[in-house]
């Protein structure tokens, strides 16, 4: 699936809920499916410090695609973390850099990515893009070797 397709899939999933409680229930479930960061990485090095909730993020690159794992101490934050991972996981740096997170707006969760929410999510997205940039650079360099 392309990034856009996953985003659309999530939008479809959320379209079933017309109540905030159902949405949050679903997010809580999503949180449980989050590809968990390995304990060895759950350290300050991989910590993204929001003032209210904290997120740990790890990325690995197989030379083609990036895959992420993460965790958060707040389960709703973790649910959103997993949405973002579902969207960006197993894509190339180029694909990740070319895409946005507009789907969050469509499912009514845009506010969670606002700089005024000190939950670490905005920094997390930035961090994901940063990984993509770094790996893109790496593969360009390697192809020049």
């Amino acid at each position: 699936m392309t990034i856009e397709q996953t985003q659309q899939q999530i939008i479809d999933e959320f379209s079933m809920f017309d109540d905030w409680m159902d949405k949050y229930n679903f997010l809580i479930e999503m949180g449980k499916d989050c590809p968990l960061i390995e304990t060895q990485y759950k350290t300050n090095n991989y910590l993204i410090n929001g003032c209210q909730s904290r997120v740990w993020l790890h990325a690995s690159y197989d030379g083609k695609q990036i895959s992420f794992s993460a965790d958060s101490d707040a389960v709703i934050t973790k649910g959103i973390v997993n949405l973002l991972i579902r969207v960006f996981n197993d894509h190339t740096p180029e694909e990740i850099l070319a895409s946005d997170t507009a789907f969050l707006d469509k499912i009514g969760l845009k506010e969670h990515l606002s700089p005024t929410r000190s939950n670490g999510l905005l920094s997390m997205v930035k961090q994901m893009k940063l990984y993509a940039q770094v790996y893109q650079l790496k593969s360009i360099q390697q192809s020049h070797d």
Partner: protein, 410 residues
């Protein structure tokens, strides 16, 4: 006399326009009053009248508006002075808020009293605004920063306090009521003990001034600081009360405007109290709004308010206890207007976000009081805080919402 007044909650609520709104199609239940209170119409109207009919810059103006404004401003000072029962009107300094008041003190009283090797004492339950200014002063002056601990029930450890007094701190600064725990500290006793050693005591009254009668002469505190916006007044105005002898001895904090008396190239002499500490154009409209807020509080009756809020907190404590795995943070007998709690290992942010969608405004997190979090070994709490306009029904709605959210998050 005061007690014979009827406390008409519906009438009170009707005077606060912000309470009558819906968020996410649910009626707003506003329980974040320790962060800031809503404003009665009469306070909002005072601002409006000021800006529509009276606005001008005060002091030194010869013209009508300026004269009238000056009279109004100085009479607001008198109102605050009477409200706190200060000895002199010029012991009331208008600031931006509690944080501004305490920073003024840390700078100015710090310069007067704190040198290398001296000590300053605060408690472990202070708001950052009454912790960091003193800590940074001590770092700058190479002085000792003493922090009196708190007990498991969230009270100041008075035995430790007595021991720390032996170190003769130069200044003691203590919250009257903790913004996290709601605990009322025994400040009368603490002040008395400190005065045995002639140590001046600063009281951070941000969380007490609109919940109980304050009489600074009876308390005998040397300074008392609070914010207007936490007591039904507009934002951008606060008060620093200080005993005349201290205010006279302290050097000014900020320079410019009315606080200046004579300036030459080489030196400047400063105006007398209270102007000495009021540099720049004051927030005149907000000061008048503060006066109106005080008049409003007095018209309801501060004792009546205290009684009502006491009932609310007892009721809320009882109702919350029904919730499985709920524990209170801080558990002292003397608690006012604020309750902090946790449920199992539910993250406060999760719970806050869910009940927000049910129309309920509470605060979650460390409440700008990380040291207190350290004592309890936690990252944050859920905090509800009451004002005169809250009702038992709101507590029911709130508790029901918490139960619902807790179920979801289990």
């Amino acid at each position: 006399m005061e007690n014979s007044k009827r406390f008409d909650i519906q009438n009170i609520r009707s005077q606060f326009p912000a309470l009558h709104q819906q968020v996410y199609n649910k009626p707003l239940v506003y329980l974040d009053n320790a962060a800031t209170t809503q404003k009665p119409q009469i306070v909002i109207d005072r601002l409006k009248t000021w800006y529509e009919m009276e606005n001008s810059n005060i002091h030194r103006g010869v013209h009508y508006l300026s004269q009238q404004g000056t009279v109004a401003f100085e009479s607001a000072r008198k109102t605050v002075s009477t409200f706190l029962n200060t000895k002199f009107t010029h012991e009331i300094i208008f600031t931006k808020g509690t944080t501004d008041s305490i920073n003024l003190l840390a700078s100015s009283l710090g310069k007067l009293l704190v040198n290398e090797g001296d000590a300053v004492l605060v408690s472990g339950m202070e708001h950052h605004s009454n912790f960091v200014p003193w800590q940074q002063l001590c770092i700058e002056r190479k002085a000792n920063f003493l922090v009196v601990g708190i007990t498991g029930t969230g009270e100041i450890d008075i035995e430790q306090y007595k021991l720390l007094l032996e170190k003769r701190p130069k200044i003691i600064s203590i919250a009257h009521i903790s913004n996290v725990l709601g605990i009322i500290n025994p400040i009368e006793e603490m002040i008395r003990l400190a005065h045995n050693y002639d140590i001046p005591v600063v009281i951070d009254g941000a969380q007490s001034v609109c919940h109980q009668k304050i009489d600074v002469q009876q308390l005998d505190c040397d300074f008392f600081a609070f914010s207007g916006h936490k007591m039904y007044a507009p934002m951008g105005v606060g008060v620093l009360y200080g005993k005349e002898k201290w205010l006279n001895a302290m050097p000014p904090y900020q320079f410019g405007g009315e606080m200046v008396s004579q300036v030459s190239r080489q030196e400047t002499t400063f105006n007398e109290l209270p102007f000495k500490f009021e540099a720049g154009t004051p927030n005149i409209g907000a000061v008048l709004g503060l006066e109106t807020a005080i008049q409003f509080i007095e018209s309801v009756g501060i004792e009546q308010i205290a009684v009502h809020e006491e009932k609310l907190i007892r009721y809320a404590l009882k109702k919350l206890q029904e919730i499985d795995r709920l524990r209170f943070i801080g558990n002292a007998l003397k608690q006012a207007s604020v309750i902090s709690f946790l449920i199992g290992d539910i993250h406060p942010y999760d719970l806050g976000m869910i009940i927000d969608k049910l129309g309920i405004a509470i605060r979650t997190g460390h409440h700008c009081a990380q040291p207190v979090m350290e004592y309890f070994g936690i990252h944050g709490t859920m905090r509800v805080s009451f004002a005169m306009y809250n009702t038992f029904e709101e507590i029911d709605t709130f508790v029901a919402a918490v139960k619902k959210a807790a179920l979801m998050l289990e």
